[in-house]
């Protein structure tokens, strides 16, 4: 199995709203704590290490390309 990156959410707008709602009234530190718990719960649900590794790589690559662009623009 590989990481699904094509549209797969039942209700994208509902999920996004629920995600933002979950963080309502939290400090940055509390939001970090929530995100960490959420990642761990979802990771366990997925289970498969190759899929998780692909997700980590996909997430990291967009962060890296963004920061690389930031550096070249300054």
């Amino acid at each position: 199995m590989s990481l699904i990156t094509s549209p797969h959410l039942d209700a994208p707008d509902d999920f996004y709203e629920a995600l933002i709602d979950a963080h309502r009234d939290l400090s940055i530190a509390q939001s970090h704590a929530l995100n960490a718990r959420l990642i761990l719960l979802l990771a366990n649900h997925i289970g498969a290490q190759p899929v998780l590794a692909q997700a980590l790589a996909a997430a990291r690559s967009t962060v890296q390309s963004t920061s690389a662009a930031d550096i070249t623009s300054t």
Partner: protein
């Protein structure tokens, strides 16, 4: 038999005839360092008929408890060396662990050790007991020439041997050795003398070990681990039981702690009292037995051999203490090296066999370093975000079983599986189960020829063993001159009798090794699986033996 007070034992220096020899005496093997690794190696070599000179720079065994967790595989090696029994008898076994975060227990676990093994998953036993029992065993072996207060101060590497300069209470002398094995610990003199430095990560953290002797505490042996307890905020604490009512307490102190200040009893005792107030041993009376402040590194030498010198144990590699991989992996180094060195010295195997000591144990060291680095990174998060995830895992662990699998306060030390060893013969038929070529043999209950109950590993000799299941294949003809091969006939039922050595009375041998009638498993002298077949020819077994001797 009353316990010997191993910590107080002093071993007298005795002048050796070599010190008066007109020319340096020649020896096949000199082992430097009579700690657990050097003693185990010397015993193993002597059992293989190799005379060995064992040098130690002082005249005592381990000071303080130091290594306290000895794993099943290590005990099985000690059994083979003839001294596992007193260790297992003296050691403390535990199964229940409790994990605390802040003030509250977040969960408890039971190791539920798998049955069908003679030895438990591990025991807690002070290093001085282990060294003491090893030293008692070594004293029974006339081929071991143990010289206390003999310190190596120089080495000259030559083509076929090495010249050692040794300092003693009455002057220097020299020895020539075909092979030198450095088992002289994390601050190895030999490593320095050959100009090598280990490479890896040094952790900027300090830990305080306090061994305290409790009086009148009747407490089950449990392992308690606190993350960030109120009595020691932002740090971790470990409480572990040893024999003689001694408890090991490990306090993480952080990098800024002053080791000299922290080592003072007046600073340790309040810490211990605070901890006990938070445990079931509230108000218990105790005495401080030993204390030490330490730092650690996860690192190893790039190569475990330099010329005529082989390195084993802490001299070759270092790990964090979490997971008990220091002394255990060192004893496994000795287990791997002894038979190879013996066969090379006896001219039965080429020098290439010694190269596999390095490749196999460097691989094992990397695995140990990886595990202990992971535990260390969990216990002492190195960044803010690492801390956020660590605390998230601990919080989730209260309610969610999955998160408990992520809590890492040290993973149980198990032997490395030498998957890629050049000594393995790849499978030619499918096998199920956990055991693969490169695995250490796994124990199982059996019935012996006299009808008594025994254990598979105890039936293995010092040489190669071919386990033949439910069949009469005559494999003795596969043996190579001068290299012992035991053919061990195991039957699924019936009586042990002539030609049948063991009965697999509970079917555990067949299950663990996935054996069918005619299956054969070939074990190396260090009890690692190196080949297996469904029904091999004599030629196939001989070929696998040659491969395991690095003959091709």
């Amino acid at each position: 038999m009353a316990d010997v007070d191993f910590q107080r034992l002093r071993f007298d220096y005795a002048r050796h005839a070599d010190q008066d020899a007109p020319a340096p005496a020649q020896h096949p093997v000199v082992v430097v360092g009579a700690g657990p690794v050097g003693l185990a190696l010397a015993i193993d070599l002597a059992q293989r008929k190799v005379p060995v000179v064992l040098l130690d720079n002082d005249n005592t065994l381990s000071t303080g408890s130091r290594a306290i967790c000895f794993a099943k595989r290590t005990l099985e090696i000690f059994d083979r060396l003839g001294c596992g029994e007193p260790m297992a008898a003296k050691g403390v076994s535990w199964n229940v662990g409790k994990v605390f975060f802040g003030d509250a227990q977040i969960y408890a676990f039971d190791l539920l050790a798998e049955s069908g093994h003679e030895r438990p998953a591990f025991i807690n036993l002070q290093q001085y007991y282990v060294e003491g029992y090893l030293a008692q065993r070594a004293a029974q072996l006339p081929l071991i020439d143990l010289r206390w207060s003999n310190k190596v101060v120089a080495i000259a590497q030559r083509d076929a041997d090495a010249l050692l300069s040794i300092e003693t209470p009455d002057g220097r002398y020299e020895l020539v050795a075909s092979h030198v094995v450095a088992c002289d610990g994390s601050r190895s003199t030999l490593r320095e003398l050959v100009g090598q430095k280990p490479q890896g990560r040094i952790f900027r953290d300090r830990f305080l070990i306090a061994d305290v002797k409790m009086s009148a505490v009747d407490q089950p042996a449990e392992r308690w681990f606190w993350f960030d307890p109120r009595f020691h905020p932002n740090q971790s604490v470990l409480l572990h039981m040893q024999p003689d009512n001694v408890w090991r307490i490990d306090f993480q102190l952080g990098w800024d702690a002053d080791p000299e200040v922290e080592k003072r009893p007046e600073n340790i005792i309040p810490r211990v009292k605070d901890l006990l107030a938070h445990s079931v041993m509230k108000d218990a009376q105790f005495e401080l037995e030993w204390a030490s402040v330490y730092t650690f590194a996860c690192q190893r030498m790039a190569c475990f051999r330099h010329g005529r010198v082989l390195f084993a144990g802490d001299a070759a590699h270092g790990v964090s203490p979490f997971g008990a991989r220091g002394a255990n992996s060192g004893v496994q180094d000795a287990d791997n090296l002894a038979w190879k060195l013996a066969l090379v010295l006896q001219g039965r195997a080429p020098d290439a066999l010694l190269a596999t000591y390095c490749s196999e144990r460097e691989f094992a060291a990397d695995e140990n370093i990886r595990h202990s680095t992971r535990a260390t990174d969990f216990i002492t998060p190195k960044s803010d975000i690492s801390r956020v995830f660590r605390d998230a895992v601990l919080d989730l662990a209260r309610e969610h079983a999955f998160a408990r699998t992520l809590v890492n306060s040290g993973r149980l030390s198990v032997p490395a599986i030498l998957h890629d060893s050049p000594l393995n013969t790849p499978d030619s038929a499918p096998f199920e189960g956990r055991i693969v070529p490169g695995s250490a043999a796994v124990d199982a209950p059996v019935t012996l020829p006299d009808g008594s109950e025994g254990w598979l590993l105890r039936a293995l000799g010092d040489g190669f063993t071919a386990i033949v299941f439910d069949d009469d294949t005559p494999l003795a003809a596969a043996a190579i001159d001068g290299v012992p091969l035991d053919v061990l006939s195991v039957r699924s039922c019936g009586q042990a009798q002539d030609g049948v050595h063991l009965i697999d009375r509970e079917g555990v041998v067949a299950e663990r090794y996935d054996l069918l009638p005619g299956s054969v498993v070939l074990l190396r002298p260090d009890q690692h699986v190196c080949a297996r077949w469904r029904r091999p020819s004599v030629e196939a077994v001989r070929h696998a033996l040659e491969r395991a001797l690095a003959l091709h």
